[in-house]
């Protein structure tokens, strides 16, 4: 095991060096770094500028030697005292990289997590409802997303997700035709998810879905929810308790009273924490919030463990999950509370199209979080669109394969409920192959981030890279590349290890 990890690490380091060498040579030879200076009319000025840039970029040194200079800098930088070089204007790379890394990391991680969660969930449902209209619709749309040019999608999102949405937010009323269309869509979704063998049943599920969507929309627009959204203690409680019931249904089935009680108790713990901290959470710090979150989970877990009886482990897990949902709901509620003020401070145009946050923006934790989120939402949706397709397709086929395995048939023939078969036997095993995809897809998301950042005007790693390429300036490009390549290589090793851990049939040697 240790030997395997060491060997993989060594090989990866070798690959890394070869890749950086290739990259450096390619970038340095990608064009003429002095190209923009030839247009200067004053010959003295031109000669002086060419001389100074030649000096900064060390253009008189052979490329290979420059590479080893850079490599030496990188190695001593990793040791704690070196430099990653300077760009062509003489600026040091490290502070630039530090700034860029933060915003890009936020974008890439958020997009990856969202893509995994939504893609896996939809893929599983699509597999369980194979050959239904839901499955076909999802298949079709994942192909469409897969075939979308990312820059095209991003420009469209910018137009309709930000500019049109902000315009609409000036007078947030859902027009009646839109309501009807949404209701019909909700009905169709209900039919394809619930199914039903007779037309009467299908009609009933269609009507149910449509009525629910219509009702929610009517209530939302009547209560001015879209302009001043809020959940309040009542909303958090109702939604939290409902989530607790739902979690129980998934984890153990509602027949298991102990787990149901534990799960509800977990939600109640969360609600109590939410109500009792209203006074102190006006402008909290992140460590305080995280501490509170962990405390809530521990409390809920303890309560669940206490009332769980025979089924302690599962009861505690359900309670912790319920409390986490309530905590998330309270977080959203606090953000909603800060929303109207943020909208008016952004002059009524909250969804941003440029940059990774508003320059010089100050406010409470909730307001700065909102600021980051409104800047993040469109770029990450763009990135998710592309990866989502991969995850759904992959999860779907993996789940289908698992459902055809002998052990699933055995589980069914033992008389286990369909819920147990799917959640305990099929679902977990179907997720194993997805780990490999995470590593592969990460490279694609980083590549996509280069384009997305450019369209949404982020000063991130992508712009560091692109500017470097345009100006034939290796150090910034290499800074981007080192981070991206190291992340991809490490993720690949981690994915292999996780795979071997999850699937004992795989032996690492």
């Amino acid at each position: 095991m240790v030997a395997y990890v060491l060997r993989r690490l060594l090989i990866s380091i070798g690959v890394f060096f070869v890749a950086t060498f290739m990259m450096y040579l390619l970038v340095a030879n990608a064009g003429d770094p002095l190209e923009d200076l030839y247009g200067i009319t004053d010959p003295g000025d031109r000669a002086a500028r060419i001389a100074s840039r030649t000096e900064i970029m060390q253009l008189n040194t052979p490329v290979v030697e420059r590479y080893f200079d850079w490599l030496g800098g990188l190695l001593s930088f990793l040791w704690g005292q070196g430099t990653l070089g300077v760009n062509r204007t003489g600026q040091a790379i490290e502070p630039l990289l530090g700034l860029a890394l933060g915003s890009t990391l936020r974008l890439v991680v958020l997009a990856t997590v969202l893509a995994i969660v939504t893609g896996v969930a939809v893929g599983i449902v699509s597999a369980l409802r194979q050959y239904t209209s839901f499955d076909y619709t999802i298949t079709f749309f994942s192909f469409v997303f897969f075939s979308l040019p990312i820059f095209w999608a991003a420009v469209l999102l910018k137009q309709f997700g930000a500019i049109a949405f902000n315009d609409w937010l000036g007078d947030p009323v859902v027009p009646l035709p839109v309501m009807v269309v949404l209701a019909v869509l909700g009905g169709l979704l209900a039919v394809s998810l619930v199914g039903g063998r007779t037309w009467a049943r299908r009609g009933a599920s269609f009507a149910g879905g449509a009525v629910v969507v219509l009702g929610v929309l009517l209530v939302l627009s009547q209560t001015d929810f879209l302009a001043r959204p809020t959940l309040g203690p009542a909303g958090v409680s109702v939604l939290g308790l409902a989530a607790a019931v739902g979690i129980t249904a998934l984890v153990s089935g509602l027949a298991n009273r102990r787990v149901l009680i534990a799960s509800l108790a977990g939600a109640v713990v969360g609600i109590i924490v939410y109500v009792s901290t209203v006074g102190v959470l006006g402008d909290p710090t992140w460590p305080f919030l995280i501490g509170l979150f962990v405390l809530t989970l521990v409390l809920a877990g303890g309560v669940g463990f206490g009332v769980g009886g025979i089924d302690r482990g599962r009861a505690a897990r359900a309670a912790v999950l319920s409390a986490a949902v309530v905590a998330a709901l309270s977080f959203v509620d606090w953000l909603m509370f800060a929303w109207p003020a943020y909208v008016s401070s952004s002059l009524g145009r909250p969804i941003a199209t440029i940059g990774s946050n508003t320059p010089n923006f100050t406010g409470t934790l909730w307001e700065t979080t909102l600021d980051s989120l409104t800047h993040l939402v469109l770029p990450s949706v763009t990135l998710v669109l592309i990866s989502f397709a991969q995850y759904t397709r992959y999860t779907r086929s993996s789940m289908l394969e698992t459902m055809n395995q002998d052990y699933v048939r055995t589980a069914r023939s033992k008389g286990l409920t369909e819920r147990t078969v799917i959640m305990r036997h099929a679902f977990r095993n179907a997720l194993i192959p997805v780990t490999t995809l995470v590593a592969l897809d990460f490279a694609a998301i980083v590549g996509g981030a280069v384009i997305t950042e450019r369209i949404f005007g982020w000063r991130g790693m992508g712009s560091l890279f692109i500017e470097g390429i345009y100006t034939v300036d290796p150090p910034p490009v290499m800074a981007f590349f080192v981070v991206a390549a190291a992340a991809v290589l490490l993720l690949n090793i981690v994915a292999d290890l996780v795979y071997a851990y999850l699937d004992p049939r795989i032996r690492l040697s």
Partner: protein, 335 residues
């Protein structure tokens, strides 16, 4: 694949010799189908793939016949360089929804509108589609050849050849495609598009190489390879005549998907200004050129994007159909 080629059915139930025979021993009219016939039948039952095939064929024919290719003139009355007077603000004259303004189904003089200096946008889009298609197919061919060779050698010889080739593949996988594409595009983007396509092909072969290698690793242990080796066949004969035909399915499927990836990569690079350069054009370059005009002349943005999506989508559907068709485990054919 021909019906009497025993190699293509090796490993299938029935084995060599069953191919091409009609199984009328029991008096039932059961016709044994060759692998090729099975694949074709399964592919033709895949509705998505058929529609994809039709759409792709339509786009290819439209783009090559309308404005002509090389010295051959097309049937469209404008060329993509000809500047004409701007009519009606350059708005598209294409009318597909007769119930909205009552013109009925109309093609008009400038179906896709005109750009800001008065070039017919249909001709320009067709030119872009032509160029993008050519690049994508060149990429597909180059990537398939490299990927197949690398995968075949690594899978067949194993040992240090495998280790070396797979490390080379790792180097390419470590670098996001768009990144190495951008660097190469900055350097080679001004080349004629055939060469630019070939350069991109050098980037996109990795997934194919891995798949072919896996296939070769399992096939080289099969009995028919053993038999060929026992009869004294040379390594190159075994690779090209015995194993390669059997991994044709894998190769064709991923070659198709590579073409879809190539279309998207090329357009993304051209959008960034790191791919095809003016005066040459491509769909991605058209979008990037007219992006700023989105609010005033949205059609300049819509049409090239629509064609990219159409091409990539139809190629992806064809690839999906081929994958299902080549998969012997595929019991039920998806519609």
């Amino acid at each position: 694949m021909t019906t009497t080629d025993p190699r293509t059915t090796a490993g299938e139930p029935g084995g060599p010799g069953a191919a091409g025979d009609t199984g009328d021993a029991s008096g039932l009219a059961v016709v044994a189908l060759s692998q090729g016939q099975l694949v074709r039948r399964r592919f033709l039952r895949h509705r998505g793939a058929l529609v994809g095939m039709a759409v792709l064929l339509f786009v290819v024919l439209l783009s090559f016949t309308s404005i002509g290719f090389g010295p051959v003139p097309g049937w469209w009355h404008y060329s993509y360089t000809q500047v004409t007077a701007i009519e009606n603000g350059g708005r598209p004259t294409l009318d597909l929804v007769p119930w909205l303004d009552g013109d009925g189904l109309a093609w008009g003089d400038h179906p896709f509108g005109q750009d800001n200096i008065g070039i017919d946008y249909f001709a320009l889009t067709m030119r872009g589609a032509q160029r993008s298609l050519i690049i994508a197919f060149v990429v597909g061919i180059v990537a398939t050849v490299i990927g197949t060779l690398v995968g075949a050698l690594a899978g067949y010889y194993r040992g240090w050849v495998d280790a070396l080739l797979m490390r080379v593949t790792d180097v390419f996988i470590t670098i996001p495609v768009i990144v190495i594409g951008a660097v190469l595009g900055r350097r080679f983007g001004a080349l004629p598009i055939f060469l630019f396509g070939a350069v991109l092909g050098v980037v996109l072969w990795t997934s194919l190489a891995r798949l072919v290698r896996g296939n070769f690793l399992s096939l080289r242990e099969k009995e028919f390879v053993e038999a060929a080796r026992a009869m004294g066949a040379s390594s190159s004969r075994i690779i090209f005549k015995h194993i390669l035909p059997n991994s044709l399915g894998v190769i064709i499927v991923s070659a198709t998907l590579t073409i879809a990836v190539a279309i998207l990569t090329e357009s993304a690079l051209s959008y960034l200004g790191l791919g095809v350069r003016p005066p040459e054009t491509s769909l991605g370059l058209l979008i990037s050129t007219y992006e700023a005009a989105f609010t005033t002349r949205p059609w300049l943005f819509w049409w090239p994007g629509l064609f990219i999506v159409l091409i990539a989508l139809s190629v992806n559907f064809i690839g999906d159909g081929l994958r299902d068709a080549f998969d012997p485990r595929q019991a039920r054919v998806r519609s």
